[in-house]
């Protein structure tokens, strides 16, 4: 249900609108057939498509971003633009270091329900997560007093944790496209626990059926974890095992990103 708050700056619909009750939706069990609905292996990530520079200008427009990337993983579609290094807007406390800021937005039609135009608290939380996951890879000491800004828009989502992972991968590709100095590219992957078994890169239906989710972002060549988030109940051993599997998946995603970036240089 969406309660539409009257927004003077936008075209407003009716005060209150709801999703109809769908009669034909039988509750889907994502793992009913013993395997996954799309036939993937348990530790298999959905096919990835990356394109860098779709938003860069052909001519030298000052308003065009320094780098951009479009990222698809299964049904997930994420677009990201990176600006900078440019003059920092806020006076930084630590002028010897640059700053990295991230903005995250779901398009109103990107989820199964209608999203609000106004930024919600979960979008702010995700923006902060992205910042913390990607910032360790950037040589911010190389950009004193400058800021690097990443703007991410989700066009279509399928699984919350997987969408955040996709956003991290998309920013990594866009940063490389912008020519920002990096220690390494950050690659991210998510998992969900379903009846004592970890399942990689879950879609929304699979995620709904699971009891616990885990997100790992890491820099594979340095073998350093930059972000780790677990929701739900597990034993420490299960978590250990999941981090290991997730790390392997990250390396695979990383290989895809690197192979693409290398191909763009040739």
């Amino acid at each position: 249900m969406s309660l539409n708050i009257t927004d003077r700056r936008r075209i407003n619909g009716p005060q209150r609108s709801v999703e109809p009750v769908y009669t034909t939706t039988s509750p889907v069990d994502a793992f009913a057939a013993g395997g996954r609905m799309d036939g993937r292996a348990l530790d298999q990530v959905r096919p990835i498509f990356i394109k860098t520079g779709p938003l860069d200008a052909q001519s030298l427009s000052a308003a065009a971003p320094s780098g951009s990337a479009y990222y698809e993983q299964g049904k997930i579609r994420v677009s990201c633009a990176v600006y900078g290094p440019r003059q920092g807007r806020k006076s930084s406390n630590n002028a010897r270091m640059g700053t990295f800021d991230c903005d995250f937005k779901y398009a109103p039609f990107s989820c199964s329900w209608k999203r609000s135009h106004v930024k919600t608290s979960d979008e702010k939380e995700i923006a902060l997560m992205l910042e913390q996951a990607v910032a360790p890879a950037i040589r911010l000491d190389a950009y004193p007093k400058a800021s690097v800004d990443a703007f991410v828009t989700v066009i279509e989502s399928d699984g919350k944790a997987a969408t955040i992972a996709a956003a991290i991968n998309c920013i990594s590709a866009a940063l490389a496209d912008a020519g920002i100095e990096l220690y390494d590219s950050v690659a991210a992957c998510s998992m969900s626990l379903h009846s004592e078994q970890w399942v990689s890169d879950c879609s929304q239906i699979e995620e709904n059926a699971s009891s616990c989710s885990l997100l790992v972002a890491r820099m594979p060549s340095a073998d350093e974890v930059t972000y780790l988030l677990q929701h739900g109940k597990t034993t420490p051993e299960q978590t250990q095992q999941a981090i290991q599997t997730c790390a392997n998946d990250c390396t695979r995603v990383y290989a895809v990103i690197c192979r693409y970036l290398q191909a763009t240089l040739e």
């Binding site: 075209i11 619909g13 009716p14 609108s17 938003l55 308003a63 065009a64 600006y83 937005k105 039609f109």
Partner: protein, 276 residues
């Protein structure tokens, strides 16, 4: 040696464009040509992809040269307005985020986005018969919210947005809905999807007066930056004028307006070919 000479010339040209963008454009316009090599009345390549987004009930992606917009329609159920008990809602909003151009800030929509939203909302009245969204008179109707997200702003976003809206409405599939008067609940059957009748297709064409000098069709971002006036012509499928909107202080002669309308009529069939 020749190659390095060409490369140096290209760098010199890029530097010139960066430092003196206005003078750069004038050199081209003075010789009756555009910096991209297009004719004055030539539009950029148009590409429309319908229905790529599964989370939206209707969607379309439109590329007009480099300008890229995505329109997604979410359908929900609401109580109709008391004054119009048989009409549903169609709301249109244009999002110009900082992702599409450095000119926009995060947060509340910019003036440009608000103006575009408002104008496209008024145009959308011609597109649909809102009574076709009625489920039960006075009780329930569909509320469609069409959001047009700009991914890349390289000029002429309004044309791209209108085309995306038309394509997304054509792609829209609504489930068959029934209103239960006992419970007041609307139930919908996802298996039985139906199109909504489009009353009138809209075909936009924008012309821009660059530097008070010449009228060009489908300006890109660089040309739009030095525009003094713009003229939007919207046609329906039969070659009738739906909307004519001249903005800016620059003077466009009556003959030029007539030429623009004539060109917009040709443009109509160009767009129709891509939409079908």
């Amino acid at each position: 040696m020749v190659e390095t000479g060409q490369a140096a010339a290209a760098v010199a040209m890029q530097t010139f464009e960066r430092i003196h963008p206005v003078e750069f454009q004038r050199r081209f316009l003075g010789q009756n040509t555009r910096h991209t090599g297009r004719e004055f009345n030539q539009f950029r390549a148009l590409k429309v992809i319908k229905g790529a987004i599964s989370t939206a009930q209707g969607s379309a992606t439109v590329r007009l040269g480099n300008t890229t917009v995505v329109c997604g329609i979410k359908a929900e159920v609401c109580e109709p307005d008391v004054k119009r008990p048989t009409a549903g809602y169609l709301t249109t909003n244009v999002e110009l985020s900082p992702m599409c151009s450095a000119r926009f800030r995060a947060g509340a929509p910019s003036d440009e986005a608000q103006v575009a939203s408002e104008h496209i909302y008024r145009l959308s009245m011609h597109l649909l018969d809102l009574t076709s969204l009625c489920i039960e008179s006075g009780k329930a109707a569909w509320s469609l919210s069409a959001d047009i997200v700009c991914l890349k702003h390289d000029g002429n976003v309004v044309d791209a947005a209108v085309i995306a809206l038309v394509a997304a409405i054509e792609d829209l599939r609504l489930p068959r809905a029934e209103f239960d008067s006992a419970t007041g609940v609307v139930s919908a059957d996802k298996e039985a999807l139906g199109h909504v009748d489009v009353k009138k297709r809209l075909f936009p064409a924008t012309f821009v007066l660059v530097d008070d000098l010449c009228v060009v069709a489908d300006a890109d971002d660089a040309e739009e930056q030095m525009a003094t006036a713009s003229l939007l012509v919207v046609m329906d499928g039969e070659g009738k004028l739906v909307n004519l909107w001249k903005r800016g202080a620059g003077v466009i002669s009556r003959e030029a307006v007539e030429q623009c309308v004539e060109r917009a009529r040709e443009r109509m069939s160009e767009i129709a070919k891509v939409l079908d």
